[in-house]
């Protein structure tokens, strides 16, 4: 691994330091400016890595704030991958980064058994012992993974099709959101399929320092994406982190893998907005349903980092039955699997405190956010149900009241 990004665009203005949620939560972290562009100069001199690099959550708030476009978080992740080649990551770090591999391995165990594993207090003690905090929120495995269930849906008579990159979260833990998306796209006249070769986008592997595994996944995904793009089949994602990785990040991490043609993946909400604009999706029926949903929306950091606005908010605003306000209170703290880790749990909770408080005092009974782990963290901390915005859109369009767990 020998990619180094130019640190010299940094003016040392400290804007990123002010906006880094981890630096706010703990003085044990050098902070974005120092660990990113400043330390990069030491790295170029071959000076040994600073131990506090491990605190960077790859949340991207530094990059969102930086006026000079310095890829601070990417510099950090490249450094982490280089570091992990010297010092192999722990067993725990392997586990949290390889959710997909694990889930595939456990495929033939029933969900209740797997979920017992994540909820029984004895198991939690065991997980705690290997470094997964005993109080951290954990997702439940769905009975059937989204990708296994999708072929059983009858989607007949659609002239157009769209390829869906479901990501690990929707696939293993939250197929319901996937089906809401399928339903909505069917309404717009699209058949939805998942190409069989799609694998984990690789962002958890990057954050964990597993360069080779991330590269392998990237190579596979790029091949599939290039084929789809060549056939002019639109590809969409409903997970901000997957889309961030597949559109913006892979070129920074693996420039040598990038094809000449631009790879394009649309945000699911953004795609639906286009369907409304072209008339493919008719939302008139939504105007005489009476579903009355009141929710507060949390914009995931990895969505904000994409710089393409907040399409979910835009989409929700089309439905008079949905009263939505924006939390606008920064990071939830979980950062993928960061908040699962024993030594990071307290930091993750402290980072999310402002958001939790805003949600609690908002008086809204429901939280909406695209990111699965954000929802997990928020639901645990605020005791309010949290759903994907697409679930609300479907409810409003179908005139079907939400059933909330």
């Amino acid at each position: 691994m020998s990619i180094h990004l130019d640190p010299d665009k940094c003016l040392a203005c400290t804007t990123c330091v002010v906006h880094c949620p981890v630096a706010e939560a703990t003085p044990a972290f050098l902070g974005p400016r120092m660990i990113g562009p400043a330390f990069e100069r030491f790295r170029l001199l071959g000076i040994v890595e600073d131990d506090s690099l491990k605190y960077c959550a790859n949340c991207k708030n530094c990059e969102i704030a930086c006026p000079q476009n310095v890829p601070v978080a990417t510099i950090n992740m490249l450094a982490r991958m280089a570091q992990c080649q010297e010092i192999p990551p722990s067993f725990r770090d392997w586990i949290v980064a390889h959710g997909e591999v694990l889930a595939r391995g456990l495929k033939y165990f029933p969900a209740w058994l797997k979920n017992m594993g994540t909820h029984l207090s004895l198991m939690r003690t065991l997980l705690d012992w290997i470094g997964i905090h005993k109080d951290c929120p954990m997702p439940n495995f769905a009975k059937t993974a989204f990708r296994d269930h999708l072929p059983r849906l009858s989607q007949k008579g659609f002239a157009k099709s769209v390829a869906f990159f479901p990501g690990c979260y929707i696939n293993y833990y939250d197929p319901g959101t996937g089906f809401d998306l399928v339903w909505l796209l069917n309404q717009a006249g699209y058949r939805v399929f998942v190409p069989k070769d799609f694998v984990c986008c690789g962002i958890p592997l990057i954050s964990g320092g597993f360069e080779k595994d991330a590269r392998d996944n990237t190579r596979t995904n790029l091949r599939v994406l290039a084929e789809l793009n060549a056939q002019k089949i639109p590809v969409i994602s409903a997970c901000p982190s997957c889309r961030l990785m597949l559109t913006r990040e892979i070129g920074e991490f693996f420039p040598e893998l990038m094809p000449k043609e631009k790879i394009s993946i649309d945000d699911a909400q953004s795609f639906l907005l286009k369907c409304i604009a072209t008339g493919e999706l008719d939302i008139k029926t939504a105007h005489n349903s009476s579903v009355n949903i009141s929710a507060i929306y949390h914009a995931p950091c990895h969505l904000r980092a994409q710089g393409a606005g907040l399409p979910a908010l835009e989409l929700l605003s089309y439905f008079p039955d949905i009263a939505i306000c924006e939390a606008n209170a920064g990071c939830c703290g979980i950062s993928g699997s960061y908040g699962f880790k024993k030594e990071k749990y307290a930091i993750a909770q402290s980072v999310g405190a402002r958001l939790f408080q805003r949600i609690t005092t908002s008086g809204r009974p429901l939280v909406a956010s695209e990111c699965g782990t954000c929802r997990l963290q928020i639901a645990q901390a605020t005791k309010k149900p949290a759903t994907h915005p697409l679930t609300l859109v479907r409810a409003a369009l179908q005139g079907r009241p939400l059933t909330l767990g």
């Binding site: 003016l11 203005c13 400290t14 804007t15 330091v17 002010v18 906006h19 706010e24 003085p27 044990a28 972290f29 050098l30 902070g31 120092m34 506090s52 990059e63 969102i64 704030a65 930086c66 006026p67 000079q68 476009n69 631009k262 394009s264 945000d267 953004s270 907005l273 604009a277 904000r304 980092a305 994409q306 710089g307 393409a308 606005g309 907040l310 399409p311 908010l313 835009e314 924006e326 606008n328």
Partner: protein, 428 residues
Amino acid sequence: MQLRTDVLVIGSGPAGLTAALSAAEHGCQVVVASSGAGTLAISSGCIDLLGQYQQQEISDPWEAMTKLPPTHPYSLLGCERVAKALQSFQAILARRKSDYFVAQKDGKNVNSRLPTILGTLKPSYLIPQSLDSSRLFSAKKVLVAGVEGLRDLSPKLCAHELALLPEFAETTFATTLFPSPLSQTHRGVSSLDLARRVASAEGKSWLTTCLGRFANAYDVILVPPILGIKASGQLVSELRQMLHCHVEELLTIPPGVGGIRLRETLIDEAREQKIRFLENVRINKACVSGQHCEYVAAVEDEEENLRLYAKNIVLATGGILGGGLFTTPDQVQEELFNLPVPPVQGQMCNASDVLAAHPISQTGLSVDRSLRPVDVHENMLLDNVFLAGRSIGGYDPADEKSGFGVAIATGWYAGVMAANAAGMEASA
């Protein structure tokens, strides 16, 4: 994604935020798009209006304002509008229970002189209570207090330099270092770290104990900007009452803490006004037909990430540092609309005094009285684009001490003009 709005503000520095609030106040639907968080969050948050005139420090900015050249942004707006802008800004701060004030002398609004960590004095106009320096100039005994591990402030240097100033001929200065409230830190401690700690109950009690040991012996205690992270001034007044001593913050290098307090205040207000923020968006394409901007967009790798249709646009992209102006070795450019930047006037190098004003600081775009961009012959170039803040030329914020003043004045007026042009009734 595509979006439609009445007013689009590009840039979220002080000029952009003020423009957004003023357009929203006049009934417009407002979207703010910016790449980067702007300079506000790292500043000290004091609003410089006009601190120097012809390199001399002045007390009454309003009197000096009438003498500025006709091309200065204040002259283009006129003193009355500048005053109205500041009033409107103060009203926002008051509504948010923020404690900004302007010093008075002989019934006039005047500049305050604020001590810095280097032991110098800087003039500023609209300032928070924590920076109230009125007692400093009559104090007999002053303590400069630093904090262990906070390398930005050397109390001895600060006190030594202040004592050399004629204003303090009768004052005695002492110094101390408070023990750090942060047990183990891996990085150098900043004022912001301490301010965040003081915002907690333990941090507040740490500070009260530290100050309490000295409060009886001194008239004024100067501290780095660590008095919490809220602009409400509640903590400051509580401390002053409890200790019977005037605790006051020093201006410091970034992050200046005061700026974060101010920014959060403005963003809270913006949220209440339902202003929408689009982050990490670098607007780099403008579609103009004739003199009218149809839409702007953020393009990356030849793909349009975002397209924004607005009836009116406020361009508040800042100067060279903010990203609104781009420099090459021999010229300055504005890249979005390709607006003409008048060539730099004056001697570019070999300045004998490196701290004196430099002509590059005057560089920026030309506007008419409605803040629309114009060419060298004063012809209007765009009919629905209004400029605000540092991207406008004809003034030197560093030398004049007028940065946020111009940003707020032009921001407010650009917001009003944009609202007017969008068909809203706005009085100015």
